[in-house]
Each structure stands twice: as structure tokens, then as C-alpha cells.
Amino acid sequence: MLNGEIALVTGASRGIGRALLLALAAQGATVVGTATTDAGAAGITQALSDAGYIGGGLVLNVGEQASVDALLAQMTAQFGAPTILVNNAGITRDNLLMRMKNDEWDAVIDTNLTSVYRLSKACLRGMTKARKGRIINITSVIGATGNAGQTNYAAAKAGMIGFTKALAREVGSRAITVNCVAPGFIDTDMTRALPEAQREGLLGSIPLGRLGQPEEIAGAVVFLASAAAAYITGETLHVNGGMHMG
């Protein structure tokens, strides 16, 4: 389904990023996944080669412009310019606002939101030239609903949705689509860090009665990356078991 496409997925060493990297590769795309460490990048390369997929892992610090530039140069030389960009890298630094430190705010905005600006800008040159492209931003149900203790994360994730709509308007004439996928609570290291009581409480608010699996987010991303979704742009696809219905 994605033969000939070249996908870049940030934050692909584990969790949702890993699952959607493998799912894009399984559809025939050449994939590059990024990690913050050499070991993480090597792990991605290994996982891809074990599965017989084409691609590799590269190191990226999404907070540094120089690192983004270096990644694009290396990826383009090694695999080609990306035709699919999945902005997935993200962190949490939860705290009640009255206790939140500047560095907790800044880290989340920079890693989760400013990174989307940096990566999208870097990839657009090739996409506008090619007159095709897919940018898929992994936001969160929290960007739509808010969550106590996550003002920074909610602001960044809601910011991604606004960014997505604006960019979709800018580059639509070049057949480039820009969309969001908004996961609910997915069974990953990020949600495993939640206190047990909060996890139990959450389940009660999810009509499907369970956490989602990373592969269920990957399915939505593969769809938006595919030709089947060519007429969808500026949209946010919620994948959350019904806990929030946009």
C-alpha cells in the first residue's frame, strides 16, 4: 500500500512510535525511526532488519535545529527525502500549574510542539517539490479534553491541532495533507507511569473498557498515510475507545 514511500517517524524507539514505524514498514514504505540515543537508534535498526523491513534508526534531538538538519541530510543521502512525516516524539512533565517549573513547561512545549514546527519545515521542501506528501502529527485526547496536572502537555497537544489546520491550508495546493491522530490512553511506558488508582478510574471513562494498544494507533496512521486518505486534510482522528467523542 505504501510501496515507494519514504517515512520518517520521530520517537520510534518504543511505545506508539515503534508500533507505527513497523506498521508503515509492513505496508512497504522505507522507514526511518529516530531515537535520542545511539543505543535507541541501533535498536530500531535491529528491529527493522529482524522483521526484514527496509530502513533504519537514526539519532535525533528534536529540540535542536542542528540535529534536525543533520538528520534530514543523512536520511536523504541514505534513503531519500521523506514523503511521509510522522511527528510522534513527545514527553510529559506533569505538575499542577501552581507548582510547575519553567523548565517543565519549556521542555514539553519544545519537545512536543516546537519540534513539529522544525520537522515539518525541514520536510516540506522535498514534499512541495514532489507535489505530494503526508504529515501526521500524533497529538492526544488531552489536547481536546484537558487534564489536571498537564497544562503544559495539553497546551502543546492542542497547539499541534491548530498548527495542523493552518499548515493544511498552506500546502493543500501541493497535494500535501496534514492531519492529526489523537490517541486516548494507550498501553505504553507513558501510561504505565500513572498511579494504579488513576488507571482504574480511567477505565471507567472508556466505553470500550480497556486501554488501547499501540498497534491501534498505527492503524489510523497507516490509513492517513495511504492513498485512501488523499482527500482528508486538517483533520484530527480520535482513537480513544470512546472516552472522548470529538
Binding site: 512541495t128 498552506e170 500546502v171 495546493s173 501541493r174
Partner: protein
């Protein structure tokens, strides 16, 4: 190697999908050749690549006609 003028005209024709005879020296990219803002950004990118030069944003804004592009390249080419 063709002249700067020929190469610039060829890039304009390709980028803006216009006819050769429309690309006169005084033709404005936006007013005469139907370019939108994204087209002009792409045109500058294409010129940068073709002539291996960096065109700063403040200079790019001043390049609005075919002749201005030719003049700029002639003044700044590597």
C-alpha cells in the same frame, strides 16, 4: 552552459507552469504570471538550488519580476 537569463527563464516556466512568451523581463511573478505566495517561495528555492546560492528572505521579498531575478543571480552567483 546557457546564460543566466535563459536558465532563470526556464526555471520560471517550469515552476509557474507558464508559457515561454509570457516570461518577459518585466513580467511580475504574482501580477502577470499568476504566482501565489507559496509559488514565489518555491521559485526562490529553485533558484537557490540551480545557482547554488542562498537568497536571504529580505532579498527574496524584493525579487518580484523576471528581470529582478536575473539581476540578483548575476550579482550573487557563486
Amino acid at each position: 552552459m546557457s546564460s543566466v537569463e535563459e536558465r532563470v527563464r526556464k526555471i520560471v516556466i517550469e515552476q509557474l507552469s507558464v508559457k515561454e512568451e509570457e516570461v518577459t523581463p518585466e513580467a511580475s511573478f504574482v501580477d502577470d504570471l499568476g504566482a501565489d505566495s507559496l509559488d514565489t517561495v518555491e521559485l526562490v528555492m529553485a533558484l537557490e538550488e540551480a545557482f547554488e546560492t542562498e537568497i536571504p528572505d529580505e532579498d527574496a521579498e524584493k525579487i518580484t519580476t523576471v528581470q529582478q531575478a536575473i539581476n540578483y543571480i548575476n550579482a550573487h552567483k557563486a
